[in-house]
């Protein structure tokens, strides 16, 4: 369990998802990485049934193939996020809660693709898709030996710039400059990295993708 940085890869030339993945995996393999299986991160969002005088709450339920026995759920209350890590049974529990929480099936979003290992690095190239429509490409880089993000950010940055070029910024992603959950008086970048941090980064990017482009569905117009 190490520090993971998530980086969306911009789709500049209007290429298809698989061709970008091909392009990136060629570069990663040229660096000497070996493909070790695939990965999948998916996110489903449930909203509470609207009631009078109560703002609807949103629960995001995420699965990460790196932690196959856990379900991550993040409750948004409007002012803050409450994260919960549970066993797989949580999936069944949330199905039982349909009177209170309903999911919109077409908002299910996932990132899926090959997983590479290079020394102590793990590289995951994922195609982000929402209900079968392609949204973009996200690259996840994990450096396993280190636990404190600020200590290894420079190393990860250099490594990412090595195969993604200047799309990677020199400053640490804004997620890490917010105060930490466990110790409120220090930033996340100086705290010990947890699996939920990966999931929260995914959620952040997923909601960006959702907001960014909701292609109008032509059939609905008339």
């Amino acid at each position: 369990m190490g520090v993971t940085i998530l980086q969306p890869f911009p789709n500049l030339e209007n290429k298809t998802g698989p061709s970008i993945i091909d392009f990136l995996s060629k570069r990663v393999i040229a660096l000497g990485a070996q493909q070790v299986g695939h990965f999948l991160v998916d996110c489903e969002t449930y909203t509470s049934v609207p009631q009078m005088s109560v703002q609807p709450k949103v629960v995001h339920v995420l699965h990460n193939s790196e932690h196959p026995a856990s379900v991550f759920s993040i409750l948004e209350t409007g002012t803050k996020q409450i994260a919960l890590v549970a066993d797989l049974l949580f999936d069944l529990l949330i199905l039982k809660m349909t009177p209170a929480y309903t999911s919109k099936k077409q908002t299910k979003i996932e990132s899926k693709g090959p997983r590479f290992e290079l020394g102590d690095f793990v590289i995951k190239l994922g195609i982000v898709s929402m209900s079968q429509t392609f949204k973009g490409v996200m690259v996840e880089v994990e450096y396993r030996p280190c636990l404190i993000p600020s200590m290894c950010w420079d190393l990860i940055r250099e490594f990412m710039q090595g195969f993604m070029g200047s799309h990677v910024t020199n400053i640490i992603p804004p997620y890490f400059t917010t105060p930490s959950m466990m110790a409120p008086n220090q930033n996340k970048q100086n705290d010990i990295y947890q699996p939920i941090d990966t999931v929260q980064q995914y959620l952040e990017h997923f909601s960006n993708y959702r907001k960014l482009s909701n292609p109008p569905i032509m059939g609905m117009r008339n």
Binding site: M1, G119, D120, R144, P145, C146, L147, I148, M151
Partner: protein, 251 residues
């Protein structure tokens, strides 16, 4: 012999050509190229040189192809190849191969003895010379409290490090060191001499106090472990054992 000579000559030519290429590349665009279209002129020049290099390389290849290795003869054993039974016919070539390997091993071992004799890594006082020397204080046989006091001193002087001492086996100490939030290490002491070091990541556990043989999951820390082992040998000094431990910890 002649062929060998010509091959050597062509190697020389090739090397000087390549040298020329790098020289022109290094000096870049010069005055001779004039003002107009100097870049294209420079590129042309470079192209010519590279072509010449190509030609030389081809020449070299053709001459080396002409070279045939001298027949390798092992005296009477070469009659082995005339063996009638089928399964023994291959014996001779195997013999030649093993002969070549033994030769190589011989060469390497000679080199190794040269290097090793230059860098003594002795961890004991036994030596072959019959010279009389004063009896030395042993570093294998030290009272536990002396070891403790040395370790405590080190612990106090290095603020980033926490040190825990265990004694699962009688007097010899096993020391667990946690360095910041980066790594953990276990040292096995024999008296005041460091005998073994295991390095692991901060997220990995030493399951038992004497869990010393499992290596770290991460390549970085396995490399660090290798380096600590060479440092351990480097800093070892039989006459001043506590100095050795101290300088090891600091570095």
């Amino acid at each position: 012999m002649e062929q060998l000579n010509s091959a050597l000559i062509s190697i020389k030519v090739l090397r000087s050509r390549v040298g020329q290429v790098f020289e022109t590349l290094g000096s870049g665009i010069r005055l001779e190229h004039g003002e107009e279209g100097r870049e294209t002129k420079f590129l042309m020049e470079l192209q010519e040189l590279l072509n010449a290099v190509n030609n030389n390389l081809r020449e070299l290849e053709s001459t080396t192809n002409g070279l045939t290795p001298a027949p390798f003869n092992l005296g009477n054993t070469s009659y082995l190849s005339q063996e009638t039974t089928q399964e023994r016919q291959a014996l001779y070539s195997q013999l030649v191969n093993s002969y070549k390997w033994i030769d190589k091993i011989h060469e390497y071992s000679q080199l190794a003895t040269q290097v090793l004799s230059g860098n003594g890594l002795k961890r004991s006082y036994f030596n072959n010379s019959n010279k009389r020397r004063r009896p030395l204080t042993s570093c294998h046989n030290v009272m536990p409290h002396a070891v403790d006091s040395i370790l405590n001193n080190i612990d106090r002087s290095l603020s980033e490090m926490t040190i825990k001492v265990w004694r699962p086996f009688a007097t010899n100490a096993i020391v667990h060191v946690i360095l910041g939030r980066v790594l953990k290490a276990a040292f096995v002491f024999k008296g005041i001499m460091i005998e073994w070091i295991t390095v692991k990541g901060f997220d990995e556990n030493f399951d038992e106090i004497d869990d010393l043989w499992t290596e770290s999951r991460h390549k970085v820390f396995r490399n660090v472990q290798n380096h600590t082992h060479s440092a351990m040998l480097h800093f070892y000094s039989p006459t001043l054992p506590d100095l050795a431990v101290r300088s090891f910890m600091v570095s």
